[in-house]
């Protein structure tokens, strides 16, 4: 069963990837940009879900690492760093290092205490970004006049046209998702699931639960940082809003909307979120009220999320037929 299910999901993913590669040829430029944003928030939500869905840790501070990625990139670009590869590498590294330090202080706590600690650190990072005007430009943020081009041997690819940003974002999102996919299927991924399932039993078969959680926190923080870099390039600026606790709530909402139990659930949640937003804002300005009206029945009737419920329903049908 698992062998066929595995190749099936790989084929589905490859088909989706092919469609996304064709995206800008089919979509108007406005939607190309919305899909770009979906990639970024999808990656951000999926990295959040490594903690939430896979390890059972609800972090309310992921925007902190997202913002650190964005600000590190903005600062490096402003100082005239020429290599985009190096900028991405450094920004992800800095976000991961912050996650290491903050995670070290958070992972020993559970449930609401963990959530509150991450929220607290997220608010601290926001306040630093907001108040340290000399470095970050304060509430105005850091606008970027130019972004270095992508340099490959023999090619220089400007990140000025939105379509180029689309492919640039797609590439890095796919890379981030690939990392997550490898991690959750690895022996370490099994440890994460075991942490979620029963951390006491895991400790009493010899695992250092805090270290496992910390490693997950660092991976999630680094990938949130990557999403932040992409968002900075996409918006051509970094602002404290990226680090606000309300921004930390976004991956939580998207993951619950899509479903935390499915690997791509959070990304689908991001897609649903943005498409609904487009649909709803055409009629009313009160998008958040409508979002609330949708979220409430999802949480009550479909706790596995929209995509999670669909996947389960399809699985049940397949089982009852065979």
């Amino acid at each position: 069963m698992s062998a066929r299910g595995f190749s099936g999901s790989v084929i589905a993913t490859l088909v989706l990837l092919a469609l996304l590669l064709l995206g800008p040829c089919i979509l108007p430029i406005y939607w190309t940009m919305i899909v770009t944003e979906i990639f970024i928030m999808g990656l951000f939500s999926m990295s959040f879900n490594l903690l939430f869905g896979f390890s059972g840790l609800l972090s309310f501070g992921q925007a902190g690492f997202f913002g650190i990625g964005a600000y590190t990139a903005a600062l490096l670009i402003q100082t005239g760093f020429p290599s985009l590869w190096l900028i991405i590498f450094c920004s992800v590294l800095v976000a991961a290092l912050f996650a290491l330090a903050i995670g070290y202080l958070c992972v020993r706590r559970d449930e609401i205490f963990f959530a509150m600690l991450t929220l607290g650190f997220g608010m601290m990072l926001f306040t630093i970004a907001h108040n340290w005007r000399e470095l970050t430009g304060g509430s105005d943020g850091m606008p970027l006049c130019s972004v270095p081009p992508v340099r490959l041997p023999g090619i220089e690819w400007s990140l000025f046209p939105p379509v180029h940003v689309y492919y640039f974002t797609l590439f890095w999102t796919a890379a981030g998702v690939f990392i997550l996919w490898r991690v959750v299927r690895s022996p370490f991924g099994l440890m994460l699931t075991a942490v979620r399932e029963n951390k006491q039993r895991l400790a009493f078969v010899g695992a250092d639960v805090s270290r496992i959680r910390l490693a997950a926190f660092v991976i999630a923080g680094g990938l949130a940082g990557l999403a932040g870099v992409l968002f900075c390039v996409f918006n051509r600026m970094a602002t404290p809003d990226f680090m606000h606790w309300a921004f930390s709530a976004r991956p939580v909402l998207m993951t619950i909307l899509g479903g935390s139990g499915v690997f791509f659930g959070p990304a689908w949640g991001a897609a649903i979120f943005f498409c609904l937003e487009q649909l709803v804002t055409a009629f009313t300005e009160n998008w958040m009220i409508v979002l609330g009206l949708i979220l409430i029945p999802v949480v009550i009737f479909f706790p596995q999320g929209i995509v999670g419920t669909l996947v389960q329903w399809l699985g049940d049908r397949k089982e009852s037929r065979s």
Binding site: P187, L190, A194, E197, N198, R201, V205, G206, A207, D208
Partner: protein, 254 residues
Amino acid sequence: MTPRPILEINRLGHQFGDFVVMRDISLAVQAGTMTALIGPNGAGKTTFYNLVSGRYQPTQGSIFFDGLDITRMPAHRRVALGLLRSFQITNIFPHLTVLENVLVPLALEHHKGFRFWKSMSRERDLKRQAEEILERVGLASEAHRRAHELAYGDQRLVEIAIVLARNPKLVLLDEPTAGMNPEETERMVHLIQELAQQSGTTFFLTEHDMNVVFSVASYLYVLHQGSLLAQGTPNEIRGNRQVKEAYLGGSLDS
């Protein structure tokens, strides 16, 4: 000549706040000797295991495992030395499959817990070993079911399989037959005896049911209100007047 004990406890004591639950316990478990800790409910058996396994830090005394002082060692490091335990209330990974329940400790046993990149499905060696262990406890046919779907008695066997996967030197079994029907009890007792004979693992179990314990253990410690009341072979314990009184629930002389 007596061999070096695998577990040696010196003057162990513990209190929760002002409440003294354990005082002045000294005992030794010899490798290869099926040892039991018995005593009525509330005597402190589970607390004793919590101290030995590292769930609580004792307030007095010391614990030596295989010649090493482990009194202040975190629980997961004691496991790495070969000291494993089961819990009185079944403690497994309920939504993982039975096979995965065993793969978790096996991955740890082979220092693979921090492998981030290789796919678990390629760990064929681990899978084969996990299947062998399930075979030994009689759960091979349940490998792909989720653990929480199993019958109660089988879930308790899953916990035994989890513990065996770490190739332990000493296993503390906290009332392994608790809540089992006679048939399940019989199967568990038989399994423990078989494992003790076949593997190099020593078992140290608690029981509140004297009949079960007399049939498996060859050396007994009796705990009563947090103190050691008696020790000896099953025959010695059976004839001990103090033990009888403790189990009758009364101290006749007070």
